[in-house]
Amino acid sequence: MPKAKIEYKLRIPSQTENLEIIRFFVGKVAEKVGFPEDDVGKIELAIDEACTNVMKHAYREAEQDKTLDVAIQIDYQKLTLIVTDHGKGFNPDTVQPPDMKEYLAELRVGGLGIFLMRTLMDEVDYTIKPGVRNQVRMVKYLINRKSSKVVN
């Protein structure tokens, strides 16, 4: 894990065909930072779910030239993923994760992304300014990192 804060950034068209590239980018950084394979998988899935939400819901069909930004910040024991778009945004209070018991009992469809993001990551929060800037920020802590001592 690097000692200083490092940021990696990717700006990419908001289209689902780019999910694979986004997962690869984020997965490689998580791997390099020292996350175990299991966690790398969780981080890849979380970024996929966050970006899928933007691609499906943030922009209207006509706005296909829109982009989204993925930033990865590494700060000693902590990896932060930030997905930013400039679309219409949403009210995070109205998209509470589903109650999985009810969900499965009723064989519902969709809406699992937010549940997954909250389950896979240690922290998830939103900053929504419709049409200006919407951000989802997700944090994963590297608890079992290889080098336990860091001298700054």
């Binding site: 997962r23 499965l104 519902r108 997954l116």
Partner: protein, 123 residues
């Protein structure tokens, strides 16, 4: 760039869909079309073989959720087999093993379909 592929294997009363590659929001419609086609042909006994699937997101899981009610309503089922631990973890995280029959090996899954259609079954 081909990142998702389906191989369809038709049996007498059962179709196996081998799904290969990455199943995400981009590729999920391909699987949706394949299952819809089976429904249109009134083939409702479906085994999905995950052996060569490397990745699944909620968009992929949503495809199964979207069909299961209709398929079971027609006395069929979607069963699953040969998931890697990574794929199974995603199913497990969401509690999906409580609603789908998931088998470790393809032969086990195939056998359950055979039992179901055999008239001598004493279930």
């Amino acid at each position: 760039m081909e990142n998702f592929k389906i191989v369809r294997l038709d049996g007498t009363n059962l179709t196996t869909l081998k799904i290969i590659g990455f199943l995400d929001a981009h590729t999920a419609p391909t699987l949706e079309e394949a299952i819809q086609k089976l429904l249109d042909e009134e083939q409702v006994n479906i085994l999905v073989d995950f052996k060569d699937l490397n990745y699944i997101s909620s968009a992929g899981l949503g495809v199964f959720m979207g069909f299961i009610e209709e398929i079971r309503g027609k006395n069929g089922d979607i069963k699953m087999c040969s998931m890697s631990p990574k794929i199974y973890r995603v199913f497990d995280l969401l509690g999906f093993p409580t609603i789908y029959q998931i088998y470790e090996r393809q032969e086990e899954a195939l056998a359950t379909f055979t039992q179901k259609s055999a008239p001598t079954s004493n279930e």
